[in-house]
Structure formats: C-alpha cells, structure tokens
Symmetry: D2
Subunit: 330 residues, 4 copies
Amino acid sequence: MTLRIAILGAGRIGQVHARAVASEPRARLAAIAEPAPEAARAIAERYGCAIRSIDEIAAADDIDAVIICTPTDTHADLIERFARAGKAVFCEKPVDLDVARARRCIATVDEVGGTLMLGFQRRFDPDFMALKQTIDAGTIGKVEMITLTSRDPGPPPHDYIRRSGGIFRDMTIHDFDVARWLLGEEVTRVQASASVLTDPEIAALGDYDSANVILTTASGTQCTITNTRRATYGYDQRIEVHGSLGAVSARNQHRAEIEVATAGGYLRPPLLDFFMTRYTAAYAGEIAAFVAAVSEGRRPPTTGADGLRALELAEAALEAARTGNAVTPG
Amino acid sequence: MTLRIAILGAGRIGQVHARAVASEPRARLAAIAEPAPEAARAIAERYGCAIRSIDEIAAADDIDAVIICTPTDTHADLIERFARAGKAVFCEKPVDLDVARARRCIATVDEVGGTLMLGFQRRFDPDFMALKQTIDAGTIGKVEMITLTSRDPGPPPHDYIRRSGGIFRDMTIHDFDVARWLLGEEVTRVQASASVLTDPEIAALGDYDSANVILTTASGTQCTITNTRRATYGYDQRIEVHGSLGAVSARNQHRAEIEVATAGGYLRPPLLDFFMTRYTAAYAGEIAAFVAAVSEGRRPPTTGADGLRALELAEAALEAARTGNAVTPG
Amino acid sequence: MTLRIAILGAGRIGQVHARAVASEPRARLAAIAEPAPEAARAIAERYGCAIRSIDEIAAADDIDAVIICTPTDTHADLIERFARAGKAVFCEKPVDLDVARARRCIATVDEVGGTLMLGFQRRFDPDFMALKQTIDAGTIGKVEMITLTSRDPGPPPHDYIRRSGGIFRDMTIHDFDVARWLLGEEVTRVQASASVLTDPEIAALGDYDSANVILTTASGTQCTITNTRRATYGYDQRIEVHGSLGAVSARNQHRAEIEVATAGGYLRPPLLDFFMTRYTAAYAGEIAAFVAAVSEGRRPPTTGADGLRALELAEAALEAARTGNAVTPG
Amino acid sequence: MTLRIAILGAGRIGQVHARAVASEPRARLAAIAEPAPEAARAIAERYGCAIRSIDEIAAADDIDAVIICTPTDTHADLIERFARAGKAVFCEKPVDLDVARARRCIATVDEVGGTLMLGFQRRFDPDFMALKQTIDAGTIGKVEMITLTSRDPGPPPHDYIRRSGGIFRDMTIHDFDVARWLLGEEVTRVQASASVLTDPEIAALGDYDSANVILTTASGTQCTITNTRRATYGYDQRIEVHGSLGAVSARNQHRAEIEVATAGGYLRPPLLDFFMTRYTAAYAGEIAAFVAAVSEGRRPPTTGADGLRALELAEAALEAARTGNAVTPG
C-alpha cells in the first residue's frame, strides 16, 4: 500500500522533502499546502500533486501522513493537530523552542497514540551511519570519548538569530542529538563555555557564536562539542568516537575530491558550505526512514522524546555557559 | 519546450538513464521500448511513460530524442536508423567494436545531419570535471604527463570477455577517451604491454587482463594508462595530470568516508566496487548534458567522432601490445 | 665559543639529550653525572666526556650549563643549586609537582639572575612549529578555538601513577603549555570533566584516566583538551587551531607512511606509540634552542614561569573536575 | 671489533656519510681523503679523524673499509683499486656510465673476492622498506603491476646534464633499481617514451626531461616508471605496488605535516625538494647496512651486479625511447 503524504510548506526544506517523497517507491506526494500560490503550483506541477489548505489536509481521508515544513513557532500546534487527526507526522526539529511547550506537545502525541518523527537528519547521513555501525559492531569496544566538531560557514542574519532561541537551541541541538545517538546512554552533566568572537551584534542579541560543551554520562563517558558560527573553509562537520579498542571518525566533504599541487603546496577545495548540499543524502534518508517506519507500523527512529531531550540539553548548556558550573539536564 | 525522450532497452543502464531523464526539468520520459514485458512495465509505471516498439518510436512524431541502451551489436544500426528518423541520439559506447563499421555509422550520421552523443560518462564525473576545470583555468600550466589508473574490481564472466572485443576495446576505451579529453591534443604514438595475470582462461580467449599503455602526442606530451581486471580493494579510478606549473589529481571513492583506528592500524573501507555506483553522478550528468545540448541546439560534448577515435587508439594499443612496437593510431 | 654541558642523569631522557648535545656544533658534552657506573660509562665512552659527581660539576670552572634529567622530586633543589652556581640550567618539566615549591624555586632562579629553560619539548616539534608559524603569519586570522587531542598509547604502571601528581599534572601539563603557547593570551577560566574508564585501580589511586578540559581567556578564546591514557592505535597527538580567517592542523605520525589496500579496506599502520620516538626531533630541537639561547645570551624560549603557569592550570583543572565548576587558575 | 672506515671525498654526500658513520656504534670514521684542505679539515675536526691521501688509505693497515664519494668517472678505478687492496668498498651509484667499463669493474671485484656495496639509497628509506616488508609478508599476494612516480623538483644545470649520461642513466637508474628490488624477477622487455618538455636546451644536449618506461618480466608482471625533471611542488617520490590480493603504496613527504584551511581551500606545504633531505634516513640506513654486512661478513644488500643490471635497463630504455620498439635488456 502506498503512503499518501502531504507536505505543509513549500519553502526550501519543503522542496527537498517533496523530491525525497517522489523517489520513494512506497510513498506518493498527494498534496502540498502552501500560502504562496506560485511556490505551491511549482511543487504541484512537478510532482503531480494537489494543492490543498492545511484544514483540508487535516480533514482528508486520502492522506496518511504529513511532513511539517512550516516555521518553528507553528510546529507544536500542527503536530498536535495532525496527530489528533490520525496522520503520521514528520516534523523538522525543533518541536518548540520552549521546553514546556515541547513537553506538552509530546505528551499530547503520546496520549492520542500518534506517530511523530523528528527531523534530526544527521543520523541518516551515510558516513555517520557507517560510523554508528562500526560502533554497534563492537569494533572500537566501549565508547569512552566523543568529539563533535560542528562549524557553520557563516553566522545567520541577525533577524534569524533573534528568533532562533540562541546557538544551543538552534545549532548545537543537532550535536546534542548526535551525541545522544552515539553515547548510548543519557547525559547526566553538562558543562559549557561560550563567547562572542565573530560579531559583537550577536552579543547584543544575547546570543553566542562560539561554544564548547562537555557532556558526561553516569558511567563517565564524555562528549565534547565544538561549535562556531563562522568557518571560512566551509561547513565543518566531523565526528570522532574513541573507545576501549579503537576509534572511528567521519571526514568532511569537500566541494570536489581533487587536489592541486603547485609551488605553493597541495590544495584541496574548501568544504561544501551549505547544510542542504552537505546533507543531501541525509535528508533523503530521513524521509525514507519515515516512510519505512510508517509503512511497516514501526516506531520512527527519531521521536518527539529525542527532540525534547536535545532541547533539555540545550537549556542545560545555556545555563552552564552563563554560570560556568556543571548543570544536570532535564 | 520539453524534450520528449524514448529509451531503447530497460536493462540496468536503461533504468539508470530513465531516472536521469525523470529528474531533468527540460525533458520527459515519453516511451520505453523493451522486449521483456515486465521490465518495460516497471519503467512505464514508475515514470508514467508509454510502452512502444522500436518501430513505433522511429515513426513517432512525439518523440524528439532516443537513448540507446541495447546490446552493443545493435548500436550502429539503431544510431543510423534514428539519425535518419530525425531523432537526436544518445548511445552508450561503443558505436561498434569494428572500426570500419563504426566509421560508416558516424559518416551516415554526418551525412543526414544527425545529432549523436556517445556515452563516455567519465567526462561528467563531478570530480573529473573539477580536475578538467583546473587544467583549463591554467593552474597547472601546460599539460605534460598524465597518469590514468583504472582497475576493475574483478574480471567479467568469460562469456562477456568473448564478446567484449578485448580489454583495450572494452575497458581501456574509457581511459582513451579520458586521455584525449585531458591531453587537448591528438595521440600520435601508442605503446603497450599486456599480460594475463588473473586467470589463464582469459589468455585462452585471446584477451589480456593487465595492461600498461603509453600515449604520446606530437608535442611530446605523454599519458600512461594502467589497467587491471582485478583489484581486490574495489573499483580504482584515479587521474593525475602533471603540468609545467603543477599537478592535479582526483581521488578514489570509498564505500564510506570513515576511518577506523585500532591496534591493527587506521582502516578506511574499500572502494565502491561497481561502476554504476561509482559513476552515479556521471551517468546523470551525461544525460543532463545531452538534454542541454539538444534543447539548446548545441553540438553534444562527446560525439561519434570521439567514440571512433577512442576505438582507433584501442586497435593501436592491441597491435602495440602484440608486437612490442610503437603504433601510429588511426 | 663552545658551550660546555654536563648532563645529570643517564637514564632514557639523559641519553636522548646526550645525543642532541653531541650533534650541536656550538656545544660539547663535557661531563655526565650518574650513580649507575655502567650507564655513566656508556655515555662517557660514546661521547668522549668525563664522569663526574654532581658536586664536582657544581664546583667546576669548565662547565657552562647543565641538563637535569634526574627524578622529578630532585628538580627544584638541583635547579636552585646550579642557578646559584652560575650555570645555565635546562630541566625536564616539571619544576615540582607542588605549586608552592615550584614557585619558590622560580623565585630563587630570578633572584640570582639565573637562566632556566623548562623542557616542554612539544613546542619544538617541527610540525607544531610550522603550525605556530602559520598562526604568527596571520594566515588564519585571530585565534578563536583550539582543539588539542592528546592520548597516550596505554596507562603507565600504577606505581608511576601514584607518584605522578595525577593526570593533569603529569599528562595534561604538556597540553596546558601548548595551549598557552598557541593562545597568545593567559587563561582565565578552567572547566573540566574527568573519569576513570580504562582501569578501576586508577580510581583507587585517586587519579583519572580520561579528561576533557575547556580553557577560556579574557577575550573569549577557547581551547579544549581531550586526554585519555589508552589509545590502542598509538600515541595520538593532534592540534587544531581555528581562527577568524581559517584553521590550521597538525597530523599524527604513523609507524610508516604506507597504505595497504585489500578486500578489507585501506589500512595505514598505527601511530608511533612511544613519546620519545614521536618527539625525536622535538627533543633535539629543545636542546638546540637551549644551546642557541645560552650561546647568544638570550632568554630561553620556555622558562620556569611557563612551567609554573602550566602547573597552576593543572591545579585548576583538578579542582574543576572535582567540583564541576569553573575555576580561575593561579 | 669496530670497523675503521675512510671516506674518499668530502663533498655533499661525503659529509652525509661521515655523519652516518659517526652515529654507527660498530664503526669509526678513521680517515678522510679530500683534495680541498678546508673541506678535509672540517670533517677531520668534527669527527676527530685523520686526513690522508687516497694512496695512504689504500696502503693503510688500519683501514677496513672505504666509502667512495668522488666524481662518477673515478668510481670504477677506485673500486678496483680498493677491492684489490682488500678493503670493503661502498660506492655511490653508478659504477660507471659505460656498461662495458662497469662490467669489467664488477668482474675485477669478483675475481679478487672483494666486497662492494652500491649506494642505491632508496632501498633503505624506512617507508619503502615497510612497503617491501608488506610485499614479502604476502599481504598483497603476487606482485602484478608496479607504478613508480619519480619527479625531480627542477632540472640540473646544463653542465651536469652534459656529463650525466642522460636521464635514464642518471635519474631513472634509481627507479630501475627499485623496480628490480620490488619485482622479484628480472626484466625481460623495456618500452619507453621520452620527450623534452621543460627546456629545449636539454634536447640540444641530446637528452630528455620527461619519460615513461614500461618494464615487463617473463611472467608478465609489469612496472611503469614516470619521470620528469621538473615538479614545481617538490621532489615527488611515490611507489605503488598492485598484487593479486591487494596493493601497497608509500606516500610523499611534505615540508611539514600540517594543513591550512581557508576560504581558498585546504593547503598542505609542498614536498621536500631536495633528495638529501627527502632521503636523510635512507642515506643513514644504507651506511648502517654496509657496516652491518661487513661487520658480520655478509654479502651487502646491494651489489655491483645490481648497479650493472640497472645500467643495462637504462641502456635498453634509451634505445627503446629512440626507436619506439621494445628492447631486451642486458
């Protein structure tokens, strides 16, 4: 049976997900909801799907699942609404920037027995998946120390920062999720240091642009996260996991895998510098995983609870950065 | 105006090209011709195209171009037929294993003013394109020495070898085309050494499995090609170009870009070991280039003449390997 | 004028320094002091130097400088004694495990106008020096975030741990010095997390074997240090410095720079697994720097104050790890 | 018993060997013969050895071995003379540029039962030795295809070229020796292509600056050698060996093992650009091997016959390059 999917929002990420749905043999893009008529029409024509309002989709009998690609402040309401309407829901992270609101939303989904997958796409990056499989295969033994390096090519506009919830909730949140995924154990202590190094205006907005976080679990396993908003050399996304028997790391992706040798040295191109290009396969992978889970009646690999827990770590990191003291999350 | 394309042959490569056509905004997969009903139906359903016979497609008014994915021994006839029918033609290499037949076919296409693109996909690999751009930008100066390393993961079945035309016409042909593309000058001398090292049966079939070729141009620029049919570590596809000001190289693609460090050392996964996986982007790229060229009324980037010249180099290499002497191609 | 040097202690590091002195054109190994007669004789014969007692060397007119390679608990006394005797002193780190004692020793050296170089050999590693030069040349702009990865191949014997002063004073101390060298600014805040993951006995000894430290400066520049006592893959010694215009990193040294490709993947040998092999050039470099500084009447590049400051950071890290709270060092 | 060694010639390579002898526990630099008084004195003072004439050394009872570092055209005479004088002889390659003269010299050494080691230092490079050990351990199975890349940073002066015997005898000779070492089987067929690409004056001198050679053995194993006199990026020295079970390669040595990432990309320093710096360890290693072989009464690892065979391959390559035809060496 083919899964009939509606996408809410035809922006950048909505378009990416539309393409992913179209290439899924077990799914069909049935409808697009989008206030901008032109954007809606572009999707509808390209994939042969209907244009409908959110209300229509919520009421429709012929829609099995929705992918929410609307602004963050609409997420929690839409998740609750579509979970109640009996649709399987895929929503881009975060559920909500406010932990309490997110918690209520997750609780609602649970109460109505809904299915919610949160879009932490990094778990579906092919290299990161290969890294995780190496850990799961026992090749490096027990995980002891994780190092996540995550640097954006450049800071977002001030207006974005203002509404972002701050670096920990907006940027580090992905690393918190990756950390939880790889640690295999919940974090019990968060320490952090954060600064403003790239643009004083960011300080004026009450945010940071550079941060280091140490996560520690009950068993003493540790994970450090290094974040900056500005890496001139591209979108720096690396994972290193050190264990009792060895270590495994995933390397960065360059714009091309060539090297030019001249009198000046050996030069490789900079890194891919856009998250959607860097994580193309990961975005397709998360939709494939959503379709597979819903089709087979399985629990999605990343749930609302994962989104909540990552948010709690973000809150803890913020407090830790402000006070200098270790904070117990959650 | 959308280019209406028919694909002849729904085998492995036909399926790859169908997907590529489907993702081209300026093209539409209009028809599939395939004797096996199930395979035809699979393509038709997935991409919403018609199932037609080759005769119907040749006669159709609503088909602008064909992509020939049928067995090698049908290529020359089909190219001539569809060129005469006024369709733009994309054909997988080679035109024909016999130089004389290939020459006649190309001549026919020229006589009728047809458009023929030969599928030398490597020219459309993103890394190789970046390498070529580096050369064209003058970064490494005048090209002096090229080293092409091209190793298959394992020898094909004996039956394939029997019909393949031999290693130079079947395998090295791609390297000959890459060499011509990068040299920017015609080859005037071919030297070669070839052996059977992996399987004595290959010798019994009159073929080789291991070969080195030196191509030299009038200006003294040289290119070496190293081929083997068996590389346990995967599909080894590298290019190195040395010039007066520097050098540029393209690296191999591994199954995942991770590295595992243990007491035994630092281990990266083997290379991708299937040409269609290794050249996924290249196959999509060549179809995109075909669609672009035909849509814009431009000459395709790889023509029948390129296919012919590569075949002449293969013939010369075979003679050079047999005699040990330098051979002038063509 | 040739610098006449005496080495105190003919153990492992004493032998390394003897070789370094012998290859310095501006220096001569004049004497060795060593209680074990055989070890003393080996040095004396190989380099043609005299065997003398520490007392004799302190009283000698024909000795310009001493290199102290005796056990840690003798360092402070010997430094003071030879500084008072008017000899230039090179001493392996640390001055003393106790900050107060180290402080008194440094003060004494200053009072008598002595010359003291502390052996932080990593500053003299050729790759780390090239990295530092890149920073100093302004290539990466203002330093913002430093990542030091420093992993021992295996934990030392329990008896060593017992006398070591703990992981921060014994192992991280080198990273503290490297951090100070690269930050170009004093550290004002230390955060740390430490665990015992490799051997419960280490906990029983009151020590840790795995630690992450965040150092922050007044300007908000940050440095993370990742330490473990056990890396099965060798002696992992990496530096990454991220700045406003770019980043620079130094790679690890493998046992051989070869790569073996098989069906199992691409394998490079493990890392060098002994600090003296890994830092061979660095040990020679620090002696060369000592000889150069003393010969030219310049202040040595690493002084007692550097040793003291690194020790203060170690104390701060220990307190930070115990409490979870940020600590102001010094 | 300590081996008493005399060095003939205090030029660049003589100085390198003097240092190597000095660091050998089983050897002692006893004498230097050098017509330039200052150069002789420098060696004598630094290593505490005597200055003697060649005649004196040949007649001396207290000299066990000589290291010949004089101009090429004196090699054959000196080898014969010192072999007759009963000294073990180490001589830098080549024995002579003329095959017939070299053959007579080797024959003389054999007649008098002399010991001669030819200085093919690359066999003693630590990475190349690790590569060879990998082959010998059977890890890559039977050797099938070897690729030697050997590029000089820049052409030597015209005057040097004039006396060099040409690129094959002067530069490729090292690769011929490495090829023989790794092939484990004699070469039965030589093919070559050579051009002048960097400097027309080199053509006027009757030489080439760019060459590719294919060596083939009786069993069909092949080796390609790629040479150029000018690589702007440094001294490019790589080996790749492909076998039935895998492959092994040795990487280049950069001026520092750092990488700088900026908006322009990821830059590593150029390669070491001087053969003595690149092969520092190899030069020390060949002297160590000579001392070990003579001390233990073993046959040296590289003999006059090796030098002769490499020269025969050079002659064959020259003829092959001139005619375009395969040549049987020897």
